[in-house]
């Protein structure tokens, strides 16, 4: 087990190198010129050259990349072009807020998704099952930005129940609307996967055995089906969290939630390339860590996985 975990953690190193490499490749090898993006449309060639020199972008690409990597290792992601402050310091402020929001959303989503999925599975082919399955398909089909606007319209403008946007410290009424917006598609995915996972376990031999020996249906479900269905469900919650974080930026922007996503978006709007680059890398690291955690957790729950690896 320990060697399994250690191996997974060591695998992070090439992945981190890969993440930074791909970002570098995208930003600096694409035919567009990032410096032109920073300088804005009306910049003179002299301005462009001076920015290029100031940012060290006139050096050979591999020097820039190695330089960036070696600084990143000691926690130096450069300075924001807009605020001139250390990006690492700014990230320390925004990242916890994204963690708050994603956790709140994932809690709502897991609760809703798993309970709906279980109801659907236990009552397979009944009208609640059909309703839940249809609802899940709809939940997946909302464009997130539009759903955010409509929820603002409903809960803030019409019903005056919740504030439409803003941030006042974390787990309060301000987190509800963005968290619900994020949880709506997520819980749809979770409901579907939970349904299939429970249905799969209900088909196993040991379920038939426990039914055959006269165990009550409730006990069959709670003692035998549920614990085994939880293995794929746990993994799914982790993967769902990773997916949710991938789409959190636009929700943060619409609800003025001052997290990493909004930071990244503002960096894009203000053409602050170093900050944008750093936040995309941090997003990717985030998701990588979640995947790692899910892997390890999976190994812990299901010993077959860690032994096989």
């Amino acid at each position: 087990m320990a060697s399994f975990i250690l191996r997974r953690i060591l695998m992070l190193i090439p992945i981190l190198i890969g993440i930074t490499f791909i970002i570098f490749a995208l930003l600096y090898i694409l035919p567009g010129d990032p410096v032109r993006l920073i300088a804005g449309p009306g910049a003179t060639p002299e301005t462009i050259e001076s920015i290029r020199h100031e940012m060290g972008l006139d050096r050979p690409l591999h020097t820039q990349y190695l330089d960036y990597l070696s600084k990143m290792v000691v926690g130096d992601l450069g300075r924001s072009y807009q605020t001139r402050r250390q990006i690492t310091e700014e990230l320390a402020v925004v990242v916890p807020k994204t963690v708050q929001l994603s956790l709140a959303a994932e809690i709502i989503s897991s609760f809703l998704g798993i309970s709906l999925g279980m109801i659907a599975a236990v009552r397979q082919n009944s009208w609640p099952d059909r309703l839940i399955t249809a609802l899940a398909a709809l939940q997946l089909s909302f464009p997130a930005f539009w759903l955010a606007l409509m929820l603002q319209l409903l809960f803030a403008v019409k019903l005056h129940l919740l504030p439409s946007s803003g941030y006042e410290g974390g787990f309060d009424k301000f987190i509800l609307l963005p968290a619900i917006t994020l949880a709506i598609p997520s819980s749809g995915i979770l409901a579907r996967i939970t349904r299939v996972a429970v249905l799969d376990t209900l088909r196993e031999d040991y379920i038939r055995t426990s039914r055959a020996k006269g165990l009550r249906e409730r006990l069959v479900f709670l003692r035998h089906a549920l614990p085994n269905a939880l293995i794929p469900i746990t993994t799914t919650i982790g993967l769902d969290l990773a997916r949710l974080i991938g789409g959190i930026a636009i929700i943060e922007v619409i609800f003025s939630w001052p997290g990493l996503g909004k930071y990244a978006f503002d960096a894009l709007v203000f053409r602050d390339l170093p900050a944008l680059q750093a936040s995309v890398i941090v997003f990717a690291i985030f998701v990588t860590l979640i995947n790692l955690f899910v892997d390890i957790l999976y190994g812990l729950i299901d010993p077959r996985v860690s032994r096989a690896a």
Binding site: I22, G32, A137, P143, W146, L149, A264, L276, V280, V287
Partner: protein, 295 residues
Amino acid sequence: MTDPNATQHFVPQKAVGWQALIRNIPAMLSLGFIVVLVLVAIFAPLIARDPKAIEMRRTVGNEVLNPPFSPSMQNLFGSDQLGRDIFSRVIFGLRTSLIVGIIVRGLTMVVGALIGLISGYFGGFVDIIIMRITDIMLVFPVLLLAMTITAILGPGLSTVCFALVLVAWPDVARLIRGQVLFIKNQTYVKAAKSCGAKNSRILFRHILPNCLGVIIVAFSMGIPGAIMYEAGLSFFGYGIQPPMPSLGSLIADGRGYITTAPWYPGFPGIVLTLLVLSFNVLGDALVDSFDPRAR
């Protein structure tokens, strides 16, 4: 030889293939809806009014109205602040959505399938490198990455397509690679190899045709995602640029009128949701009917 289904004879066999698809009512409704929307998009100039026609004043009876007009027989989805018909703007936006969705997903399938074929067939070092790249591409925040790419290249139809293909190919490559790994150990591929067939012939005459089912399903499953991402990019101003219409930028235009004219951002979003929903339902039904591993 024993029938693997022998023990299940008393269970009514679930229909598979086309039969299952045709009997799937929600899927057929979705298909119908998609066909209607595609026809509407093709014949947009015949159905819609000029989406740019401005109407600053309207008299109903002896009342003088100013835009935005609320939904009526005259403006099915209401009008915007300049009196432009939102129904017509939606129809032209729908056109863009469908075009982008199909182009992006088509290109993604070509790129992803080629890379997946190479990765799965040749294996070894090439495979390891390609799979590591896809691993890493999958951890990036898709929309943010796509926005960054279009911002650098300058937003517009072609850069939106480029950015969306660039962020979406890894999924397809992995899917096709998995399929190739399975097919390349089949007897007919080994037979072709032993006859001295060239790699390119085996790849394109034997393996690719056998991936076609998976490719078609993945193509249709991926269209709603592409449509949604284009709308997201355009909503934030990093996608399709005016004067080219897009549902995303239409919703962005209407955002400021959400309290005074909720139909303005509302209807384009409803149409977008229904479009994505129909593709999702149809895609799920395709998987159910043609993928033996899924239920």
